[in-house]
């Protein structure tokens, strides 16, 4: 970004120091505070909002992260992945553990009680304020990257809206600042990596992605797109010749990152233990609350079929354990009553098959935009068809998709549908009444201020009858959300069962982590109707947006 002075070559000879400082400043231009007033505004507003949400509801994830602070602070490295003092064992990759170790140092200074291992469920003001503050501060990575996105954008005014929309995304507000996680920080690294790809620094992009993988392994969903893109566009020339030097440098860099992360554990021979913590394959198809993906629709279809079969009296073998399972709804392992059961390998094959389609396209057109779209689609496929997907994983779709929002009207529409459905599907994470108001009103304001200006920029009138009908149906679908929210709000009041759901602790919610929730006793058949409806309705929108995006991508000429 530094314009090279015209007499650079001469000045280097005369003033070698100036050249140094110039280089220095361009290398560290990340550190410069060149924010416009409106960017300061957004930073300040979002920080104030997050500060106000300090006392809001916290999920068990809060205690999970506090426990990790305690583990990393009070135990030696060799014990980190073995400790079982708390049920919330450490099961993120080592970089995240190092990160927690780093955070535990100031924590111990502020309040030594925070990092005491036996101090389970410690939740005084000091730990709340400290942990919430760390989320806000680490999210600045995301903010900085988003600002950099604006600086080099083809259309800064549009990118500004998109950047702001990501920084103020209700998904982050709900999942990070209320529910409690560090997604803003992680997605900051992901977007940094994407930014590097945009600016042509592909090696850096790959390295950053490797770093990200060692923070949280859920980003493996995106790895195929990275692999194909870097292999094709970085390790091969446009004509298709292999460039082994580049390949080696990339491979070395990535391996170095992994050694940095896993090295100590390899030396201690703890790799199997690490793997068993990171990949516990003992889950059901659906998470407690069905993530709004294809399986949610299949599960719903199974329930409908079951009713139908019973009423019509067909003689079809019905899996009796499935009857019990699906009628309860909030159970870890889903067993179908009518439809044949899904095995993990099926989901794996389906996911790979879909990803392969997009990766072939990416291999043929290894441009930045194509990469971004296929990256989004890789995340999307995994979300749609993955085994035991969590609703929070929808951020993996929404965040990269946002970057594509203003490409044209088709992308924008997809973004609109996916964002509405995705954010709405996060609402059940927060079920306390005070936060209900917060999440709904905040999301509505966000949606209004993001969709309106973007829509004006890319507006395009539907030109043929099928498109008009489609346009109408999509609008109808969006209109359904207020009605659905109304139903979800009123239904518990009508059935007088709201107190039961409120007093229960939230269902377990950490990706790959939690033990299966215990079956909840004596709950009515309709107890989870609102949750199921939310999940199915959002799944419809997300599946449709997925199909849209796939078709757009496959048809697009790069």
């Amino acid at each position: 970004m530094m314009a090279q002075p015209p007499h650079a070559s001469t000045s280097r000879e005369i003033y070698p120091h100036e050249e140094d400082s110039n280089e220095w400043s361009s290398r560290f231009s990340w550190l410069k505070w060149d924010l416009t007033p409106s960017e300061w505004d957004i930073l300040l507003v979002s920080t104030c909002i997050k500060l106000l949400l300090f006392p809001a509801y916290r999920s068990t994830d809060f205690e999970v992260h506090r426990n990790w602070l305690a583990i990393t602070h009070s135990l030696p490295l060799s014990q980190w992945y073995y400790d079982t003092t708390s049920e919330w064992t450490l099961d993120y990759p080592p970089f995240f553990a190092y990160f927690e170790k780093l955070l535990s140092v100031p924590a111990a200074l502020i309040d030594p009680q925070i990092v005491k291992l036996e101090n389970l469920n410690y939740d005084t003001w000091s730990v709340i304020a400290y942990q919430r503050t760390t989320v806000i501060l680490t999210e600045l990575v995301l903010g900085a990257v988003l600002v950099k996105f604006i600086r080099g954008a083809a259309e800064p005014s549009t990118q500004r809206i998109i950047s702001a929309s990501l920084f103020l995304h209700p998904g982050f507000l709900i999942v990070d600042h209320i529910h409690f996680q560090y997604n803003g920080f992680m997605f900051g690294i992901l977007l940094w990596s994407i930014l590097m790809a945009r600016d042509g620094k592909k090696l850096a992009s790959g390295v950053l992605f490797a770093v990200l993988l060692n923070f949280k392994h859920i980003y493996m969903y995106l790895a195929p797109a990275y692999f194909v893109y870097l292999l094709r566009s970085f390790c091969m020339s446009p004509q298709g010749e292999a460039l082994p030097i580049r390949f080696l440098s990339l491979a070395n860099a990535v391996i170095a990152i992994f050694i940095l992360s896993l090295g100590p554990f390899i030396l201690m021979g703890q790799l199997p233990q690490l793997a068993s913590r990171l990949f516990p394959f003992k889950r059901g198809l659906n998470h407690a609350y069905w993530a709004p993906n294809a399986w949610a629709l299949v599960t719903a279809a199974d329930r409908v079929l079951l009713r139908y079969v019973r009423r019509a009296g067909f003689d079809i073998p019905v899996n009796s354990s499935g009857v019990a399972s699906t009628s309860r709804g909030l159970v870890g392992d889903t067993v179908f009553a009518v439809i044949p059961n899904i095995k993990p390998s099926y989901t794996f094959i389906i996911t790979m098959a879909f990803q392969a389609i997009f990766l072939v396209k990416l291999w043929r057109t290894p441009t930045y935009k194509s990469f971004l779209t296929s990256l989004t689609l890789c995340g999307y496929v995994s979300f749609m068809f993955g085994w035991h997907v969590h609703e929070k994983a929808v951020l993996l779709v929404l965040v990269p998709l946002s970057l594509l929002a203003a490409e044209n009207h088709a992308y924008f529409r997809t973004f609109l549908l996916a964002s509405c459905a995705g954010v709405f599907s996060l609402f059940p994470l927060l079920f306390t009444p005070a936060e209900t108001f917060v999440k709904i009103v905040y999301s509505a304001i966000w949606a209004f201020f993001v969709f309106n200006p973007l829509n004006r920029k890319v507006y395009w009138f539907p030109t043929s009858l099928p498109l008009v009908i489609l346009d109408f149906l999509e609008k109808l679908y969006l209109l359904g959300f207020p009605l659905l929210q109304l139903f979800v709000t009123i239904f518990p009041l009508l059935t007088h069962s709201s107190f039961v759901t409120r007093s229960e602790p939230p269902p377990c919610t950490i990706p790959f982590v939690c033990p299966e929730p215990k079956p909840i006793k004596s709950l009515g058949d309709l107890e989870f109707l609102p949750l199921m409806l939310t999940s199915v309705y959002c799944a419809v929108g997300l599946v449709w947006a997925f199909l849209r995006l796939s078709i757009i991508y496959l048809k697009e000429q790069y």
Partner: protein, 577 residues
């Protein structure tokens, strides 16, 4: 920032959404402030203001009206006027429909379940949205009518997110916005020339919280002034109408305690509860004259409570006298000649004085009267924020009013800290200052108010940092609240003096009011240079209403900076900036 946002909205074709957007966002902020703890949270046996309000809901729905002001006074007996009681009854009624245990008599004392807390919070937000926010909207549309829509909307934003009120009503837990909203509505109706309606609203304000009394001298003398202005006949008629309506509203409010419904002495139950002269001179630490001077001069040792009451009443009266005199004198100067009374414009020329008069009067009560709470700074802060809202960022009005607002919040710090509202304190202050685009370094360079502001802020910061780092010495456990009082009080005193000065200036300007050139002729003794200037500025060409409005805008400080060059030299008195 607010202005940038409004411009952005306009650029993207969403200008009709500015007002709904601002209101919804501000309601969100109100709710978010309410997520924190409240006064007396988890502190049995007495809890705090939250429990007081909840307790009133409990006792009003369960007891006959006659016992409202007498039931178990030791446990948060009702000590606000009847309208509060009626509103409490309404809230309690609705709440006990949802869940009767929230308001069960006696057994619900100290109930702090999340559901009941959310219900209580929602009543504050609902009452605020029903009374205060519409009043603000109406204010921008009447008092700021001459300004552009953008400015009006910016004013709305400024007023909506005023940090002091957010923190006290939605954090600490009180219903001040209802009282302030009624007063504001009264002001709005005065501006529209509907004095009777305005008087009714002011009585409602008084009937909700006796603190509205702080405004009474200004409002009263404004109305009397209006009668003088209208002349003997129509003024007299208005006077009688106002008197009748006011007393009727009062009677209606107190009806259940009056003879046909209750024996005569019953009226004294509410009265003695509302005006507790048997308490001390001041409570806790409050940034007023008594508490600040008490550091050096122990009033209680020197004078009996009786004398202190009289002394404080006398000082208060002297304090608000300038506003009363200003209003009456202004009306007298501009009174209509008998021949013109049919064509009387609906708005009095003294209207521009009203915000300053309200400020002078309420600030003098805050500084000098008996039994003041730190929260009562909200009462002077309303006119302060109104004056601020229309002023340009370079004017001294802006500087003074933002300073007063920030220090007002600062003066409540000990209270907010006790309530566990430290984080919202920082957040709302930062948000609002950024919103209005305030930066003490960008005020008028080297002006008194700039240097003073910076000094005050440095003192405030230092105090906060000291409090964070050092435990108070055991000999002076109250050292930090006392220092807080010593920093805040001079600011309030200066703001009070400043408001008197502004009132005098605006009063001078009235003499040359173009809206009644006949009145000017009737008062040839007025300073003629000023008349000249006002006429020269083309005032005669515009119609009566518009001219009045432009003067009204003057009172909200907007033209202070613009006018300074030509007008100020004519006005007597040294410039205090």
């Amino acid at each position: 920032m607010g202005m940038r946002w409004i411009r952005w909205m306009h650029r993207h074709g969403m200008k009709q959404w500015v007002v709904p957007g601002a209101i919804i966002a501000s309601i969100w902020v109100r709710w978010a402030v309410g997520m924190g703890s409240y006064s007396g949270y988890n502190t049995p046996p007495m809890y705090g203001d939250y429990e007081a309000q909840r307790h009133w809901m409990e006792l009003t729905i369960h007891l006959p009206i006659r016992q409202w002001y007498t039931y178990d006074l030791q446990y948060w007996g009702l000590d606000y006027p009847p309208l509060t009681a009626y509103v409490s009854w309404l809230c309690g009624f609705v709440g006990s429909r949802i869940n009767p245990t929230w308001f069960a008599l006696d057994s619900s004392r100290g109930i702090e379940t999340p559901d009941s807390a959310i219900f209580m919070r929602s009543t504050v937000v609902a009452l605020d949205a029903l009374i205060y926010i519409p009043a603000l909207l109406m204010f921008t549309r009447t008092w700021q009518a001459t300004h552009s829509k953008r400015t009006q909307n910016f004013v709305l934003l400024t007023l909506l997110l005023q940090p002091a009120l957010l923190l006290v009503d939605f954090g600490h837990f009180q219903y001040n916005s209802v009282m302030l909203g009624f007063t504001l509505l009264a002001m709005n109706f005065f501006a529209k020339g509907q004095d009777v309606l305005g008087a009714i609203f002011f009585v409602l304000s008084l009937g909700f919280k006796q603190m509205a009394l702080y405004y009474a001298p200004a409002i009263g003398s404004y109305l009397v002034g209006k009668c003088i202005y209208l002349g003997f006949l129509s003024g007299g008629r208005l006077f009688i109408r106002l008197g009748l309506v006011t007393s009727l509203t009062f009677i209606l409010l107190f009806l259940p305690f009056l003879p046909p419904f209750a024996p005569f002495p019953a009226i004294f139950d509410p009265i003695t509860r509302i005006f507790p002269f048997n308490r001390g001179l001041f409570e806790d630490k409050v940034a007023n004259f008594w508490c600040a001077s008490n550091v050096a001069f122990k009033w209680k040792h020197w004078a009996s409570p009786d004398i202190l009451v009289k002394l404080s009443a006398g000082l208060t009266a002297i304090g608000f006298l300038p506003s009363v005199v200003g209003l009456i004198q202004g009306s007298w100067k501009t009174r209509l000649a008998a021949t013109h009374k049919d064509a009387a414009p609906p708005v009095t020329p003294t209207l521009p004085l009203l915000p300053f008069a309200l400020l002078t009067s309420s600030m003098s009560f805050f500084l000098f009267s008996f039994q003041v709470h730190e929260k009562t700074i909200l009462v002077p802060l309303l006119p302060i924020t109104l004056i601020l809202s229309g002023s340009s960022p370079e004017s001294s009005a802006f500087a003074w009013c933002v300073l007063a607002n920030n220090v007002g919040v600062f003066s409540m710090w000990p209270l907010l800290k006790r309530d566990g509202l430290a984080v919202p304190y920082i957040a709302t202050l930062a948000l609002w200052n950024r919103l209005i685009g305030y930066n003490p370094r960008r005020l008028q360079k080297k002006s008194f108010v700039q240097l003073f502001s910076i000094a005050v802020y440095v003192a405030c910061m230092t105090l906060h940092i000291l409090e964070l780092l050092i435990a108070p010495p055991s000999r002076y456990p109250d050292i930090f609240p006392v220092l807080n009082v010593l920093i805040s009080t001079p600011v309030f005193v200066l703001v009070w003096l400043w408001s008197i000065k502004c009132g005098v200036e605006t009063g001078w300007a009235l003499g040359g009011l173009p809206g009644s050139s006949h009145a000017v002729k009737a008062n040839p003794s007025d300073s003629t240079t000023m008349n000249h200037e006002w006429k020269g500025s083309g005032g005669d060409q515009v119609d009566g209403l518009r001219r009045d409005m432009s003067v009204r805008a003057v009172s909200l400080g907007f033209s202070q900076a613009r006018r300074r060059g030509s007008y100020r030299p004519a006005s007597a008195g040294p410039e205090v900036r």
